[in-house]
Symmetry: C2
């Protein structure tokens, strides 16, 4: 089969491509060709027996999506997009990349006529408060960011293109991905990862919100698992509601920290410095806490069962990076 | 103030324009200029003391929306769109008119910078089954038509443009408008009106579905009332959830018929011929029945209180047309 990954140079994209390359197959079929698209060159994963092509460009540019669709992919992972903060800071860029880019891809796939499985990386940002304690699968999406709006529109298009038989889409609403590897970023959600990642690397981390804040997390490995499962799932079983809130681990920041203590001890936890930041708190307090994710679980999507496991996955998958400075990988 | 109406030549558009012309004011302010846009020339309502301009064109054509926005309207009624059946039959036209046209208008208004009140005619077609008995205001929209998808996307854009401060939008989800004046049309919902309108005009009408079918209706007059109220309402009171399911009269087809009997007698009712149509039934059985519309009612939107009143409104507003053939207007 032929597989197309957009946003292939991103954090999740890289991990997905590495996993497909390692497996050599997807949804039980051998992968013969892999197209990796992004605005910068994706890592050229070598893959025995498969032809890997690197494509660099902007999906919203006329002709770009058509060229990718012309190769008639069997499975498309559409991960490309600008993140929440950027879509909010640059209104036009957000709509161009996240809406026009997505629509151009779906249109090109429609015109190519291959009816591929399209796995769309959506986000819990489609939801806006006020929230119930646990957000049910049929909670109404009222985004409070342009990013969430663009994801919601992508979901609506994916559903309609699926219903019309132009493609076979599954939208997965990702929770916050934690622990993100790499450097701290400026996303308001960054601290959820940095309070684990930095102390494990022997570095200080700042906690800008109260310990009582509850949030739902899944590891990068779980996110890749969602994508692979969505590629393989029977569309008939999913039915016509094609956008699914993914499961995750709902924990308070305090529980995150206690998990870190169990894994790495008091000295590591002592590297977390509480420094309330009103600006971050103003954003975070409007975020959803817990999701029911009943449909996704019934359909076989699964995340970690507790935050200890999320830390363990981080150490296993990104541990070299995470422990460069601390030197000694904690017990697990 | 300056008022722009798109879709001004449509059934609701004509009635809205006639009402604004009769009132001479909107939201408590005198209307000095009225721009009427549609793909065919709208009726040139004469309006004392106001400048009325007729614009003919397609909002999705580059430059079209910009020209309308350049006049800096204070209130925009965005009613333009292709209907459900056409959007389903012609996929590309539906997206061009209902999505690209709406987005072009919102973009042009953003660029013009006047931050007008924009009243967007959305539809209960944003909802898809399975439904609860009564659809709450926060029921999740999962459209089952391309038309419903396009309306949902319009709602999402309207919300985001409002949140960003580019305009001040209110989306109103209209129930089925009944009794529609004029000739029967081929919409699957057409029978809800024709079983009332045709018998009142002394003509036979076909009922293609079981009498137990429950559906929510509002008169054309009520729809105009929703639009006017949405133009005048305080945006702060509405808050950030800007798309509202409108109230209506939820009745079974049997109750519609009994209301007709009370208004016009057995002879009139005898003109309804039951002729089950599997194709119509297949569509109608997937439609929502009842709406809570609690928020809209709290915000002062109101429809008729029973179906007798809907028939009475029809006779008052479109009675000459409705009784041309029967000759004798029924009591009421």
């Amino acid at each position: 089969m032929r597989v197309l990954v957009t946003g292939a140079a991103g954090m999740i994209g890289r991990k997905l491509v590495a996993r497909i390359a390692a497996d050599g197959s997807l949804a039980g079929r051998k992968v013969a060709a892999l197209d990796l698209h992004d605005i910068v060159p994706a890592d050229c994963a070598s893959m025995a027996g498969a032809h890997v092509s690197i494509h660099v460009g902007d999906l919203a540019t006329p002709g770009e999506a058509e060229a990718l669709a012309a190769a008639r992919p069997d499975v498309v992972f559409h991960l490309a997009g600008v993140v929440s903060g950027e879509a909010e800071a640059d209104f036009e860029k957000g709509y161009r990349v996240n809406l026009d880019g997505t629509r151009a891809l779906l249109e090109a796939l429609r015109m190519a006529g291959g009816r591929p499985r399209v796995v769309f990386a959506s986000s819990i940002a489609v939801f806006g408060g006020p929230f119930p304690d646990v957000i049910p699968d049929d909670f109404h999406p009222t985004p409070m960011t342009s990013y969430g709006t663009q994801k919601l529109i992508g979901e609506a298009l994916l559903s309609d293109y699926t219903r019309r038989g132009f493609l076979d889409g599954i939208g997965i609403r990702l929770p916050t991905i934690c622990v993100r590897p790499g450097k701290p970023n400026k996303a308001a959600s960054g601290f959820f990862s940095s309070i684990i990642r930095e102390p494990l690397a022997g570095q200080e981390a700042v906690l800008p919100v109260p310990r009582g804040v509850v949030h739902t997390h899944a590891s990068p490995r779980a996110a890749v698992g969602f994508l692979l499962h969505a590629a393989a799932i029977d569309g008939e079983t999913v039915g016509h509601r094609r956008n699914l809130s993914m499961p995750g681990v709902a924990v308070s920041v305090g529980e995150q920290i206690e998990a870190l203590r169990r894994m790495a001890g008091d000295t590591t936890v002592a590297l977390i410095r509480e420094e309330p930041d009103e600006a971050v708190w103003a954003i975070v307090k409007n975020w959803p806490s817990r999701f029911e994710a009943k449909r996704a679980q019934e359909l076989g999507f699964s995340a970690e069962s507790d935050f200890d496991e999320i830390i363990r996955v981080h150490l296993e998958d990104d541990g070299a990076e995470g422990t460069t400075r601390s030197g000694s990988p904690p017990a697990g």
